[in-house]
Symmetry: C2
């Protein structure tokens, strides 16, 4: 038992120290490792495989939505970054600068891309001449660099992986449509693949992207009651088009500026998976995104026929498109169980001599720890059904958690008390003034997460200043 | 006719100016564009889609060969790059240096990875302790930066996309096996997917990778008779392991150094596709890697029933897993034909009112320009067969070209004359001395491409100095 205990003891419990629990999972599930470069992380195989599945499924949704992939340079000349005023102010303080190429100093400094709006604008200015050249709906999968002071695995690091979509349209209406389309696509992806419910809404001016006219966001609630911004979609209007002179001739032969959008999701999503679904046994992966969905653990594997049967199951699962693995190492079963749970594999199949004799096996669900005895006949179909159940149950559980941690407030004292005592989202009315947002942040540590698309009127007055309210806002402490 | 002529006239013919022909294809097939960052290129949708297909198929082969993907930081601290002497000497003159993060200077300069041996070694030194931790067979897909002075689309640019595999093994034998396994995998990939035959062999010491004990290569012959190194696989022995102190305890409880390999292929392969298969009508993509395999061009598309039939074909192709598109824009058919040829789409299907009435369509092969009249019944199966034929024919044609441009020489005068007058590979014996390699380069511009695995003895004497020969070498001018 020593080994199993050792492995379990190494995880701090969620209730005791959520931050340490998170760090423990990242390390024990072998998702990431620290590198010799301060603030930069290594994606280990188990962590990178989750990103590969996110990429694969999200990219398929992109392609159906008419998105084309490209790859832009890693570097941005300083003069190009400076073309749009708000944008450079937002990013210049946190970029990494290349000053030497080989043995010689560069004529102009290059920044390592923190985001690529400026490069896409530069490209569109060259490519777009006529209405026939529109729309452009390009995306790239790449890494970006932001020189953060404090970092945390997946949530904030100096380099992270993401996709960034950048589009150009003939009209403001079409740009707005694309902005919302991609936000909705992100929400659908999170709900369908990651089993994470999200609140869709618009960011306040304070929280919007540097250079955007409007920023839309999906906000998820973590197990500790903190919010995580999980994807954003920006409408730039024609601001960048004017700064970069991206013009086209319309059908009436008049010169017009294009209207642009950008949208992105990142490896942060892996942090969200950990913090929405994980428990004290470790990571818990939704089957739709799990690199390994089923781990087969043979019991008394040296007995005749056990490994044969286990391999037979493995082959039938894989043939049916179930991502299965067999752990036939010489570790003891208890250790293998703890390891499979730590790594978040959704389903474990135990099969030993007695099971084989009875024509059954034991299935253990990672989400509920439920043990089921299943007949070996038609097992594949049953397993597929179980994986679907697990996916649905994980979503339902996350939704119930979010809903039971979403509170309404109409008085400021009640608002502050709720933020302080009940971790979660607090919904309250707001007058639209930056001053109230700043004061709420100062008083409670909470920020405005979004003005949700589903607006309801809790009262007529701003929660903070009492002046007439303009919008319902989700507030919360956030990562 | 003006438009078609315009498009055709814009390509320089291969015979007239091969370099310009290449540049024209890159531009007219919309594969790449120049960026505002000197020496860095933009991968446009048509170019990036080829890379996506290369990634997808090569990665599937990797996974079958037990390779696990990871992602390592973009930056390498100067002190880490310097740990292996030969390696730093090889790369330091051509790396880009980051000296500032945000507004502050860094304590230690970071280089933007030109390759990641040093980072993987650093990781393995942390991860590997016991023989149970071996082997490690990791790979990453990423971009790398080398500050080249002269650049050419796909062939040489300051930033390019590639994969780099890095492994650690218990024994020298196992490392050598993996080195050869990956080289063979590369050769198989090039032949099967890219329809490019390659010569497999070992590099001379002069041409080997900085820090490697032995470098193996696959060499392809371009249409102009120049060689292109298309993939390499290196055996590091325990050199890096000693520099980075990567040790493990073996079964007898003795401390041992690991043995390492690395191997990579890059977006250069797209340059190879262009230069092996292309012709004066443009790009010619092998069906196995073509993002679009079949372009359907409706004739007299405004006539009733034509677009319906074209869409019906499109759907039946896509349902059968054939990557097809329909060009229903208002351009004239002749223009669409030229465009499809320029973009290298392997097969064109023309369907108009007369065809429909006759129950047929016209198929035009991109490889042979052959026109075929095909019945609309069972068309999908026929098309699949045609695509296979095209793939095979493209390989056979490339192989015949290479074989008819591979010459043997046994006297130095004859050797120099062949290099000068007959572009291609020249096979000749070599004594093993660097001095002869240097002299051959000086006299002819040709470099040693590889010592092929298939050794034959053309004579007993070195082609250059006449001393006893040690190996047959493929020589050639190269990109």
């Amino acid at each position: 038992m020593a080994d199993e205990k050792k492995q379990v003891e190494q995880i701090t419990s969620m209730a005791e120290d959520f931050a340490q629990w998170y760090t423990d999972i990242v390390s024990k599930a072998e998702l990431m490792d620290y590198s010799s470069v301060k603030g930069c992380m290594i994606f280990k195989p188990a962590g990178y495989a989750i990103w590969e599945n996110i990429q694969k499924n999200l990219d398929a949704m992109f392609k159906k939505a008419g998105v084309e992939n490209v790859y832009m340079p890693l570097f941005i000349p300083e003069s190009l970054l400076e073309k749009e005023k708000d944008h450079v102010e937002g990013f210049a303080p946190e970029v990494a600068w290349v000053t030497h190429g080989g043995l010689e100093p560069l004529e102009e400094r290059l920044c390592v891309r923190p985001t690529s709006e400026t490069l896409f604008c530069d490209l569109y200015a060259n490519l777009v001449h006529s209405y026939r050249d529109l729309p452009k709906v390009y995306n790239q999968w790449c890494s970006v660099v932001r020189w953060e002071k404090t970092t945390r695995p997946f949530l904030r690091s100096r380099e992270f992986l993401w996709q960034e979509g950048h589009t150009a349209h003939a009209t403001a209406e079409e740009a707005q449509e694309r902005t919302e389309q991609m936000l909705n696509l992100y929400a659908e992806f999170c709900e369908k693949y990651l089993a994470i419910p999200v609140v869709k809404g618009r960011k306040t001016d304070k929280e919007k992207f540097a250079g955007a006219e409007a920023t839309y966001t999906i906000e998820a609630l973590m197990h500790d009651g903190k919010a995580l911004q999980s994807g954003t979609s920006h409408n730039f209007g024609d601001g960048f088009a004017r700064a970069f002179n991206i013009q086209y001739t319309d059908k009436d032969n008049t010169l017009q500026y294009v209207h642009q959008t950008s949208w992105g999701m990142s490896t942060r999503l892996i942090g969200a998976i950990i913090m929405v679904h994980g428990d004290d046994s470790g990571l818990k992966l939704p089957p739709a995104i799990a690199p390994v969905q089923v781990m087969i653990v043979p019991i008394m594997q040296t007995k005749e026929g056990v490994l044969d049967k286990a391999n037979e199951l493995l082959n039938s699962f894989n043939a049916a498109g179930i991502r299965a693995k067999l752990d036939s190492t010489d570790k003891r079963p208890g250790f293998k169980f703890a390891e499979q749970e730590m790594r978040g594999i959704p389903l474990r199949i135990e099969v030993g001599p007695k099971d084989i004799e009875a024509g059954t096996c034991v299935a253990v669900r990672r989400d509920t720890h439920e043990k089921l005895t299943l007949p070996l006949n038609d097992l594949t179909e049953k397993i597929s059904g179980l994986l679907e159940d697990i996916q649905q149950n994980m979503y339902d559980t996350a939704l119930a958690h979010r809903d039971s941690h979403t509170y309404d407030a109409v008085e400021y004292e009640e608002f502050k008390k709720t933020i302080d005592e009940k971790p979660g989202f607090v919904r309250a009315m707001w007058c639209g003034d930056r001053a109230c947002e700043d004061r709420i942040k100062e008083d409670t540590g909470a920020t405005s997460r979004c003005m949700p698309f589903d607006q309801v009127k809790l009262s007529d007055k701003c929660i903070c200043c009492g002046k007439p309210a303009k919008a319902l806002v989700y507030w919360g402490r956030a990562y």
